[in-house]
Symmetry: none
Subunit: 223 residues, 2 copies
Amino acid sequence: MTAPVQRHPLAAQGAEALLARIRAGEWGLGHRLPGETTLAAQLGVGRSTVREAVRELSGKGVLDSRQGVGVFVTALDVTEDWDAVLRRTSVTSVLEARIAIEVEAAALAAERRTPNDLRAVRRALAGRAVTGRSVEDHVDADMAFHRCVIVAAHNDLLIELFDSFVPRVRTSMVDMMRTRPPASPEADHAAHEALTEAIAGRDPQGAAELSRAHLTGLKEVYK
Amino acid sequence: MTAPVQRHPLAAQGAEALLARIRAGEWGLGHRLPGETTLAAQLGVGRSTVREAVRELSGKGVLDSRQGVGVFVTALDVTEDWDAVLRRTSVTSVLEARIAIEVEAAALAAERRTPNDLRAVRRALAGRAVTGRSVEDHVDADMAFHRCVIVAAHNDLLIELFDSFVPRVRTSMVDMMRTRPPASPEADHAAHEALTEAIAGRDPQGAAELSRAHLTGLKEVYK
DNA sequence: GCGCGCTAAGTCCTCAGACAAGCAGAGATG
DNA sequence: CATCTCTGCTTGTCTGAGGACTTAGCGCGC
């Protein structure tokens, strides 16, 4: 384990320490942790810091604190969060997953889109056409467009899958746009426009092919 | 809004309030939240309470605070509990998501499978051919087969996506097999055999089509 | 003009202390 | 035995004080 580039605040370190001790079996499922003051002394930090550490694990669903009683272990393990998975997967893996979801969603969107959906997609398309902005803003606008397409597919599970990992690769995509921007912004936008029109024209196969072509192109850049 | 049975501490209420405002779009992805003192005044609580609320959302992966800079939104939405999502989505939605993931994975598997992968797939195929077992065992064997195909695609993210929701619909699939069993078990098994052979023969397009045909057939049953 | 270091302001981070609120068990009381 | 009260321990909240870090702006020398 290499030293992290980013120095963790004491509260985050405390959360990691507590999680490690829980994983090691020091406190089993449903067991009570020592009091905040005790933990503070053990960890060598102030009580407020301990409280923040507990609160962080509470947000992860590992701990639950009840006033007047104590802090209890509610889960032995954190469901491996997406950040950890994404940190060790490659950009191409992410793009392949996007292909899987977005190509199917594009076809479904072409079949099921309502006039309202179409309006939203077109608005997002116009949003990502704006030039002269920061790279971050452009990436956000692009992701908003792709999300609109998936929303138009009317399948909650696909939306959930998209939301569960794509927003987390935002920084990677920003880097990607910064280091290897599209050869031709005009062609890039034309591809999105064509996808929009395929959805507007209720052409599932065309929408799927256009979506696949676009994402495969992105993937090629990284080969 | 009914009063919750459990009274929430102010910090938890604050976290909910912040999350609601994020969901409402008050602060977009990557945007900065107001300072602690400002938020404390807005929410009518002390600074430490705000800090705990932020820390809780930080544990959930929604916020990220950087010393000397501010608190930033890192995700627009908490990935809702899969159980909750799946409880209100239809079987067809699940099958559509499976189509998205498995069709793409089948094609990739045909390209990338190693001899070891192929052995695993064939073993799983033999496993699901066994007759005269309980419905549960058959469903488990079937899911194991489909998972082997995805493993052969060599993309951790796709495996993670599959694992994150497909095992949770096990009971639904058991019900499905019980109430509407496949018209012809032989044809069902032949379809899986054909998929295996397409992967063995390194035929991405064929594997994709066979996978799609199989899952679409399942979806039709529920129309 | 250009690059450099320095300063200042704003932000989060940590601590200590104080008091309030809630819970559980020991002991008193009937 | 049933019930009440009191006491000690726990978490919940607030305040004030520094400390550490980042960014932006300024002046200076080149």
